[in-house]
């Protein structure tokens, strides 16, 4: 483990670049949605103003709330930012090791657990209904995604690529599929599609806006938060979205400028980070912005039925096809 690299990565990427990028991407998204709706929209740095304003506001805690109500946003932020120690944000992740894909999936689920823990501890019926919806959403979207990741990791393990069950192995797998095993490319596309649908559900906008349903539940899970807690609660949600997008980028789009230029060093890392930010932006353009502008909200039963009746059979077909193909080829 390279101590210097780890510390530099922690301070620069996790504590500076990711927060600033999350606010910037929100601003760009709002501007794009506004232009799609034929209005002017707020300036791109509006989320920075919002964040600073929220931190300065008074925090109102309902009397029925328990202590964990205040801890939940901080836990969410910690878990979300911790994920970046294992998921590469352009440059290599400092703590990546074998078996880390399982830990990353566990981190995402833990985030969802903390995300609903706060509202449930607040004592408000709106937050309770929002938290129930978020739990239904989480159980619906994670199953296909975990199955896909498991199938791909099994394939990497079978082909003896990299450390078993690690994110790096999946990156190498993608590169190998595109350069060597051409017959697996259609299956790769299906996996990419399933992963993007997972990202859209995790981001929670447009069709999938069930947890923070503003007009139905007055804000859903974030209705009782105010001031610093609300700032970090919303911030955590965007960070986990970027984490999800980074995972998908790491698995499915592993090409980096430093590989093309075959250089190492600080310049290469900076270029990698910038490239990664661009790719994440393009991914979120589809999973976050366009869906938000072009559609309304599902009801929770329609949301769950979409995942269980449409995405899950696709995933099962994908897994079966993958095994059959591998069995046939070898």
């Amino acid at each position: 483990m390279d101590i210097v690299y780890t510390i530099a990565y922690t301070i620069l990427v996790i504590l500076i670049v990711v927060p600033l990028y999350s606010l910037l991407i929100q601003g760009i998204d709002r501007k794009i949605v506004a232009r799609m709706q034929n209005r002017v929209g707020p300036p791109i740095i509006q989320p920075f103003y919002d964040f600073l304003k929220l931190i300065g506001k008074e925090q109102i805690i309902p009397t029925t709330a328990r202590r964990v109500f205040l801890w939940a946003p901080m836990l969410c932020v910690s878990v979300a930012l911790l994920g970046f120690m294992y998921v590469p944000f352009g440059t290599r992740a400092p703590l990546s090791t074998r078996g880390d894909i399982i830990f990353i999936m566990y981190l995402i689920l833990m985030f969802s657990a903390f995300y609903v823990l706060g509202p449930m501890a607040s004592g408000s019926p709106f937050a309770l209904v929002g938290a129930q919806r978020k739990l239904i959403a989480v159980t619906s979207i994670e199953v296909p995604f975990l199955m896909t990741i498991g199938a791909l990791s099994w394939l990497a393990y079978r082909l003896n690529i990299g450390k078993p069950f690690s994110l790096e192995a999946l990156s190498t797998l993608s590169t190998l599929i595109w350069t060597q095993y051409y017959y697996l490319i259609p299956l790769w596309f299906i996996a990419f599609l399933i992963a993007t649908i997972w990202l859209a559900g995790e981001a929670g906008k447009g069709f999938f806006d069930v947890a923070e349903a503003e007009t139905e539940l007055g804000g859903g899970v974030e209705v009782e938060y105010s001031g610093v807690s609300l700032a970090f609660y919303k911030f955590a949600h965007v960070v986990i979205t970027i984490l999800g997008a980074s995972i998908i980028t790491a698995i499915f789009i592993p090409w980096r400028p430093s590989l093309a230029m075959s250089t190492e060093g600080i310049i290469a890392s900076v270029l990698d980070v910038l490239w990664h930010m661009l790719i994440v932006f393009v991914l979120l353009l589809f999973a976050y912005t366009i869906i938000r502008a072009a559609s309304g909200r599902f009801k929770i039963d329609q949301f769950a039925m979409f995942y269980w009746r449409r995405v899950l059979p696709l995933t099962i077909a994908f897994v079966i096809l993958l095994h059959v193909t591998i069995a046939i080829i070898w």
């Binding site: 799609m36 709706q37 034929n38 209005r39 019926p125 709106f126 309770l128 209904v129 129930q132 447009g206 069709f207 806006d209 349903a213 503003e214 007009t215 139905e216 539940l217 007055g218 804000g219 938000r292 502008a293 072009a294 559609s295 309304g296 909200r297 599902f298 009801k299 929770i300 039963d301 329609q302």
Partner: protein, 403 residues
Amino acid sequence: MTEDKEFIRIPIGPIHPALEEPFKVTIVTDGEEIVDVDVRFGYNYRGLEWIAQRRNFINVMYMAERVCGICSFAHTYAYAITVENFIGQEIPERAKYIRAIVAELERIHSHLLITAVMAHNAGFDTWFMRLMQLREKTMDMLELITGNRVNYGIMTIGGVRRDIGDKEKRMLTEYIDYMQRKVLPEIIDLFMYNKTIENRFIGSGILSKEDARAYSVVGPVLRGSGIDHDIRRDFPYDAYGNLDFEVITPKKILGNVRGDSYDRTLVRIFEIVESLKIIEESLERLPSGPIHGKQMIPLPITLKRLSGRSIGRVEAPRGELLHYILAGNSEGPIRWKVRTPTEANAYALKVMLKGDQIADAPVTIASIDPCISCCDRITIIDTNTGEKYEKTFDELLRLKSER
């Protein structure tokens, strides 16, 4: 587990992003399914009927205008008809047609507003923004004719106060053309062939025909459940006896009636089409002549001699609106009563919301078009609760002169 479940009571209101105005709908839910509903008004007190007993007839006209912002012209229209029933003379023809034009323009902007609010409640923000943008053109037309976007001040007892000249006629004709050719096809296309609208509006808040009759609902809610009744055609007032328009029920457009939010919104959107036809026909038929009944001046003296009872009803954008006056040779009405359409429609929420999901509640509540400023006109505020309300300008002037 114990036998009795504790249901969750969720208050929608008085302050909620789904409502335009404060009222409280408490839904008792079992998970996501609504089991019972309780509706309560009273958060927007203004004491208008009590104040009206202490004013003269012209002042009550001002107050009638300010009962509501969205349907203010309908209130003044009903009031003017009620007083003109006493006087018993016909108002000039030109005034009748100008009244019809402004009333239909108001209907258009109100229907666009409530459809935008319903889209926003369903999470479809893009359609909300687009409809509000299209509504701006209608508000421009209203400002052109009356000088104001809300609370027009164009109605008076015996006629109207402003005339429509050639420039206004020309711009109105352009506006009608623009709406009929560009705007309405887009709205109808988006409404009838969009997956989000189908998912959220169909099946939510069903009101059957028998229930609609039993609960005496009015307006688009009544027509959306399949009953063909419209005050403009059945009890025609002013110019509507001569105008040719159709009363919209979903049966005429879709062929079958479900009675849900989709049908109600369908009725409203196609009523916009009919309103444009009415405005076009009124502009063609606009006869020349005075806009104000000269024989009704001097008005205050005539009004002081009125006595008896009179009821006047109009078709406001939200339904049937009723004004009642009891006059007895006095300066002002002895009793003035207003019955707004939302009072009747809100009570039917009990039936509409049962069995639906929580996600349907804001869409259904918006689909009856609640206008709570119309509902709360009664009562006085207690000093202990510290609630404040705004008095009319006349009241403030009176306070000043009393000290």
